[in-house]
Symmetry: C2
Subunit: 243 residues, 2 copies
């Protein structure tokens, strides 16, 4: 009998991250973020080819999800895209500073941090696709400034959106019940999908190929098999996510 | 006019690594090793499929190349191979201990460290393919125990060998002039090929897709274009390595 993939609550997602970095996993944040960000960049590249969508606006929040976005921006630059980073509230952790320096060294430009969204509006007019790395599984409503103004701007732009882990503005468990979140075309879930995206109807990929069998069984994740040496795998679109 | 790919001396290879981790690059060793090890695992997977070659003996030296090997072993485990690690002289750096713990947590076994090569001989009899991550670009002859005994054993096993960066026992610049090195079927060069492998006749791939355009130009590397979002690219086999 085929089993359905497991969906994670915010608490379980947090617990898996902690286990990966505890003695049971022994991973560093640098490693996990590198693989997660690579999976995000590869997802965007799978769906939106650089010949038609060269200019990627990478929107980064202040937390670890923003870090994934910075890693993705760098890989997209290596793939031949022209990424621009919008990160209005840079995180204070040392790792974000290093990740941003890596982008700057690659001549990837970051819009000046500002609570005014006019720079974002201008950047949207010069972009072909959006990578949404604003809020992750630790997001709790409400959406705070400047993101409360930014999310509607991203939606109104009409540009295709690739969201990381959970579309920004969605409740991690209840989804877009309040209707204030983005409506991405593509979603890249990391380690395992979150409860809130059960009804997501767009293209849905999974990344974070670092979850051990032991963790997978402990949390009944029933992850799909990744093809070959790929770091991402597309989930079926029938809604049931049967594997 | 097509330009030939650049070949690196040991000194230049060291300098590029240093620049990547200096303020000009801002990378951490964790990040670079993760991407390098992933490229090594993906190279092995490209050539030796797990259905026919499930048991990989990952041979790790005491330096950073051994670290790449540990990362590769973990990814090979994620890909569905059954890797076994031979690491007779574990490096003392904290990162090697973490990388090895990650493998242990994934139930990848490591042969007991020993200067006696009999455990290696036994392991070879139970393996389908070898990943050679013993010596890297900082290797200087002569080959010291227990590797002096190990290299001939690896060769005599008749198993296919995938070497990382420089086949073990080769001089980084002069190649296998002394004839004591391995003769791998496949080579995965990292960042750029080394002088010593100009005449290498097997399948030759390149990994380490983190070299910025600025570094590439500074060192006249003339790197080939990686396809799509791939982390490895195969070099032409005509010997000239024209791109």
């Amino acid at each position: 009998m085929s089993k359905s993939i497991g969906y994670l609550t915010a608490k379980l997602a947090q617990q898996i991250d902690e286990e990966l970095m505890s003695t049971a996993g022994a991973f560093s944040l640098d490693q996990l973020m590198e693989l997660a960000g690579l999976a995000c960049a590869q997802t965007l590249e799978r769906v939106y080819k650089k010949e038609k969508y060269p200019r990627v606006l990478v929107c980064c929040g202040p937390g670890n999800q923003g870090g994934d976005g910075l890693v993705a921006a760098r890989h997209l630059g290596m793939f031949g895209y022209q990424p621009t980073i919008w990160m209005p509230k840079p995180g204070s952790k040392d790792i974000y500073k290093r990740l941003q320096a890596q982008c700057t060294n690659m001549k990837i430009s970051t819009l000046p941090p500002s609570s005014d969204v006019s720079t974002l509006r201008d950047a949207l007019a010069r972009s072909d696709v959006i990578l949404d790395a604003i809020f992750g599984f630790s997001f709790k409503p409400p959406v705070r400034p400047p993101f409360d103004e930014a999310l509607p701007l991203l939606t109104k732009s009409g540009l295709p959106i690739v969201s990381v882990d959970i579309p920004s503005g969605w409740d991690v468990e209840k989804g877009n019940a309040e209707g204030v979140g983005l409506n991405p075309d593509v979603l890249i879930s990391l380690t395992a999908p979150k409860e809130g995206v059960r009804e997501f109807q767009g293209r849905h990929l999974l990344g974070g190929r670092f979850v051990t069998k032991a963790l997978e069984e402990k949390f009944s994740l029933n992850l799909p098999e990744y093809p070959g040496s790929d770091q991402i795998v597309e989930l079926p679109r029938d809604g049931s996510q049967k594997l």
